[in-house]
């Protein structure tokens, strides 16, 4: 029971990364944003790593969108921290990769590794930035609506929707259990304490499982027969689809130009 968890309007785990606002990107229905994000990421990934300028153009386009949504640069940078583990790998690559070497500030670095590292850095950063734009302008509920409309398998969407709804409830359960342990003098200090925490995790699982059974009863009581209803939300206009298609065409033309430029360079190298 959660007698004590009246949150008022405070933020909680299942609010996701959404930041309220009223900008064109906020108003765009989730399915349009999801399709746009996917198309953008695929195009970026398909762009040749030798054409560094193309990634600069992609970056500028995304920064334009960040400005449009009025996200604070500090917030965006903080959220990009999630990328750091991948960056470590990108930084290591020039040192460990094999092949032709080049001298940079007295260090013998692999050319292939430098390009590979740049590839990960550029494509990863662009992908993360685009995902931040989506998550900051779309509520978890709208994301669920978007996935439903994009015909993502119903079971997957249902699981996601229950996760959004019950994450807070389970986290609250977990906090109360940790508090109850702490109140009786428990403090996890060494590996010997693992069984205590493991038992708590087991208890949490059983509690959540039992809640699942009660939720199912409540659903069945209101006529649930196996399919979740389609949630209602504004349907994207053809103008909104056109807008996103147009934006993607700009991105795609950068990718095509980069590919043509790459071909010409390769041809020149071969001819030379």
């Amino acid at each position: 029971m959660g007698a004590g968890h009246a949150h008022g309007a405070s933020r909680s785990v299942s609010d996701g990364l959404y930041l309220p606002g009223d900008t064109p990107l906020h108003r765009l229905p989730a399915e349009v944003k999801l399709v746009g994000l996917l198309a953008f990421v695929i195009t970026v990934v398909a762009t040749s790593r030798e054409q560094a300028w193309a990634f600069g153009v992609y970056g500028l386009l995304l920064l334009g969108l960040v400005a449009l949504t009025r996200l604070r640069p500090g917030t965006v940078l903080r959220r990009m921290v999630i990328e750091v583990p991948f960056l470590v790998f990108a930084v290591l690559l020039p040192f460990v990769a094999l092949g032709e070497r080049v001298d940079v500030l007295g260090l013998q670095l692999s050319v292939d590794g430098l390009l590979g590292g740049f590839n990960i850095l550029a494509k990863g950063t662009l992908g993360v930035l685009a995902a931040i734009l989506l998550s900051a302008t779309t509520t978890p509920r709208d994301l669920i609506v978007g996935l439903q409309r994009l015909r993502v398998p119903a079971l997957f969407v249902t699981i996601l929707s229950f996760m959004v709804r019950y994450l807070d409830v389970v986290v609250d359960d977990m906090r109360r259990m940790a508090l109850a342990r702490a109140a009786r003098g428990f403090e996890a200090r060494h590996l010997g304490h693992v069984p205590v925490v493991a038992k708590a995790a087991g208890a949490l699982f059983i509690r959540s499982y039992e809640r699942g059974e009660r939720v199912h009863l409540a659903m069945v009581s209101r006529g649930f027969t196996g399919t979740m209803p389609q949630l209602s939300a504004p349907v994207p206009t053809s103008r909104q689809w056109a807008l996103v298609s147009l934006a993607w065409m700009v991105v795609a033309s950068v990718a095509v130009t980069a590919a043509v430029a790459g071909d010409r360079t390769a041809w020149l190298v071969m001819a030379g």
Binding site: A3, S221, R222
Partner: protein, 283 residues
Amino acid sequence: MSDVSRHAQDLERPDAAPPGPTAALELRGVAFAYPDGHQALFGVDLIVRQGERVAVLGPNGAGKTTLLLHLNGILGQAAGSNAVGTVHVGGVEVSKATLGEVRRRVGLVFQDPDDQLFMPTVRDDVAFGPTNLGLRGAELEARVDEALDAVGMRALGDRPPHHLSFGQRRRVAVSTVLAMHCDVLVLDEPSSNLDPASRRELLDVLSALPVTVVVVTHDLPFALELCERSVVLDAGSVVHDAHTLEILQDPGLLARHRLELPVGFDPAAVVPRGRARPSPSIP
């Protein structure tokens, strides 16, 4: 006291008056044993008339929640379990064939609103039942608005449930079943975990609803204020069925069934809530 005896005379006992086809709920010899062998109900007979508000009182483990789950066919004949006895809802026998209709007629409100509210927002949740009934579009929106208005929660419709207070969540839980235009509202421990103000707000909401209400509760003052009639359930049987005030003024009866009034509480001083007049908002 004269008022009490008059009510008691008005009260039709199940054995005194056989019900017409219009009884909101009619249970005959309902017995139930859980698969582990625990016998929860031993032949319960209960008749609830249209528009009546009845409290089911009893100690923990008396079988109250098991009884509730029979009212919309989650347990009992319709579930195909080893159940005995029949349940009729508005004259319709609860069986596999009638489950859909029975679940529309009987709105079950569970004890923990976090179990009842499982959709992303309040509106989505209230729309869940009517959607399963086949409502769409403007008709669905109107139904949702009407149900939220009945509990005074329309303004918070777009909030996720975890952004509501506990009392607000319980009121939304009530509106999720009102949206199905249920004839019988069945609530499991509706006043548990509510602060006094939320408890009174819930009483205001429930007493204004023109539907039949069955409430399972330990909260005897709550039962007295809301329900003219109470049924005492103990060890799986109905042991007493009378006017609520009459039961609450019988200390011996209360003590025998582990029921207790708050210290210093005088049942006679409570003015019971009047009957709700059918309002245009909930037909």
